[in-house]
Amino acid sequence: MAFAYTPGLRVASVTEVRKERRLPLAGETLVNVGDSVSAETVVARTELPGNVKMINIANIMGMPPGDIPELLFKKEGDPLEENEPVGQTKGLFGLFKNTVRSPIKGTFESYNNITGQAVLREPPIPVEIDAYIKGTVAEILENEGVIIEATATFVQGIFGIGGETRGELKVCVDSPDQELTGDLIDESCRGRILLGGSFVSYETLKKAIAIGVNAIIVGGFDDKDLKKFLGYDLGVAITGHEKKGITLILTEGFGRMTMAHGTFDLLRSREGMLTSVNGATQIRAGVMRPELVIPVDEALSAIGSDKQAGAMDIGSPIRCIRAPYFGKLGRVAALPAELQVLDSEALVRVLEVEFENGETATVPRANVELIEE
């Protein structure tokens, strides 16, 4: 077996990026195929059905549910103002009438003769989605959204917190093994996407939020800091919805981790450019990783684009993703077919890796990821 399949995070200098911008419910698209859009351009719009309020009119009036319809002022679909009477009892000789009023502004949706319950619905909630990246409208998804296409630098992280944001990329450290410390963050970082090195602490993150930094990209972060930052212990890794005032993207993992040189050098070369980032991560079936998209004017480079995704061969650049070589970079030196016994006594398929310093080691194939060149 000359090659193997392994997961890998994309780090592409220039590539074609396609982003689907889809509405949560059917709605209308506002752009046409071929239109140039900026990241802020609103491309589609819809209205979510309003929240429902249920009131039991029969209970309030103290009457059998079946007797209510003739006492209602509203029929299905009628608009309602807050506090507007919905129905009224006949009272005793025209006196002591019991009036039921709408607690909300919206519409009278339905009344049920058995339960005595009326369903009132608040006005619809408008939802708009923007283009997220600067590019061209490539496709219209009828009533659902659009696909934006751009030539861009594209980098995937391993884990993120916080949703979509954008800003100019600013490099704050000299090397990928340097920690992003508080003293490196000042007023000039407001509204920017900061490139750090190996680590960021909770205290530095707090300072960045206070200054108004939009996002931080670093190699690693401590889990105990994550707990402090979120205010809870993250259970299932589904993120992106946090409203913490900043988006954080880790490129390597938890703990202090030197950012992969390739990633760092590539991002450093894009300093000052408008960058769109999204921290949303979903680690389950249909995995989703955080990302940086930096639209560029360069022509697409043809190199490496025909390589089979996930195919690993002798000489492929890889990163170890589990102890004891976590974070170390190297190249595949051999792919032995036979299973081998690990330190843990497990019998598994392995590969031999030659690290950047020339040393070699045997690691399980499951414990490396491919770095796309």
Binding site: V52, I114, A309, A323
Partner: protein, 625 residues
Amino acid sequence: MAVADKEITRIMATDCGSTTTKAILIEKRDGEYRLIRRGEAPTTVEAPAEDVTKGVLNAVGEIEDLEGRKFLKADGSTVQVSPDSPDGVDIYMSTSSAGGGLQMTVAGVVKSMTGESAQRAALGAGAIVMDVVASNDGRLAHEKVADIRRLRPDMILLSGGIDGGTIDHVVELAEIIKAADPKPRFGVGYKLPVIYAGNKDAAGEVAKELGDKVELKIVDNLRPVLERENLTPARDIIHELFMEHVMAQAPGYPRLMKWAGHYVDDKWKQVPVMPTPGAVGKLIEIVAKQENIEVMGVDIGGATTDVFSVFHSGEETVFNRTVSANLGLSYSVSNVLASAGFDNVMRWVPFHMDEADLRNRIRNKMIRPTTIPQMLKELIVEQAIAREALRLALVQHKELATGLKGVAQERTIGDAFEQTQTGATLVNMMNLDLLIGSGGVLSHAPRRSQAALMVIDAFLPEGVTMLAVDSIFMMPQLGVLSEVLPQAATEVFDKDCLIRLGSCVAPSGQLKKTDVLADVSLKMPDGSSEELQIERGKMFVLPLGVGEKVQAVIKPAKNLDVGSGPGVEWIGELEGGVVGLVFDGRGRQPFNLPEDDSTRIAKLQEWAKALDIYPDRFLNLEGSE
């Protein structure tokens, strides 16, 4: 729909899991069905393939390579089912949990009564229950509406009211579903399946509310009277709708469903694709029934942990299944830490470890879920987490595997001092005969004794219990096979799937001052006798091979029970296994680990050595990588 055995001698079965598709080849040779070969390949539900059958072809292709025979059609387009040709197989079948399995919301009037019955029906059918909506669940109507809409279940099961009981509350629940107007996860333009299995008198009103909004199916009430559940009609329709609606929308499934089948009298007959946990449950039920024993099975996966049980309740045999949706060892590993707490995980690690270090290790496993422990230290940490995931899954199972709540009980004067409530758990570890572990961390543990100690620590079996593991996780395929060819399923299960680890003997009850929990007399297979003592706080193993049995007399100390009652002698047969007979003197009800760190670590090391679960160098791992 059982078929005459002679017609089928070559069987291909696959299980499309969320990450891996596993294929097994079973053949009848020398008059018995045996597992011949196993192959696996990554599941291909997601982009770029977006077609589950690709993974199936790859997994079967691996079997072709290993076996040197053809099982796919010449153009590689499908599994070849051809009874008249030397190539291919006589029948192909499959189970599936890919794409997140079957996700359901259930609704009932009273949460602990019809709500729970509905939950049991859905779980038994192999679903993940995302939410239980009930009239008394404490949420306001609009909150329920918002929750149904947000969760986007694949299907909703609406129950409520015994026959002749409340109508209002049931219709109210239907109104909530109507207001939510939920949209299915897969496929635009088809209606969400909703099953009504409640008060038959409310069926008309429910149909009026929901009829044109959803794909409504009305079946018999799942709780027609308070004293009885009738879950089968609801479970059957869930399976049917799962095939027709949910699976049919997932990428590649329409084709997979066409592939699964065989020829009967020259006519093609389809075999339904089953949800994976539904198939495992089926198999466990069959085993319990055939041997007339009480059985528990646990399958610990990357994202979820399933627990199955068959216990006797009076005259009846009751099957239960629960799924702990967020307890697992890869995707959900961080959630185990969050749910169990750091200290509970740490208490199983036989050396000191820094909290920050452990937390980062667990998180790194979460973000790269497919990695495996290379170092012994990492393996030990992972097995510590597995113990807590298993323990929590059992706690959840005990809460749902109960007798029916709200049932009137007759009490005699003798019961006056015993305040038993209705709905007590059916899980009784003392009565349990067989405990089967499955899933990577148990099936693929480098030493079988590791699997034995993990299930003992997590499940704390009492009295005499046989422990076993599923050798290569093929219970799902055997479950679906049992529908068509029960004999083949049980033969392969017994000979190739189930690996007996050995009996565990654990006295249970309040320990008084005694240091000896039980005296054991054994009559060995070679005719010799052995006299042993189970001492307080100690464990030991007596080698006894697979299929070997000894006659045993176990005399527990006063107050302690090994199955015959407190202080009463137990006489019976103990069966061995690949680990042997495990004697556990650490106590049950209660089982406590020493609170002091150093004493606890010393004890963990002592037990690990007694069962020989790790190489001796594990004693020097502190501070290492």
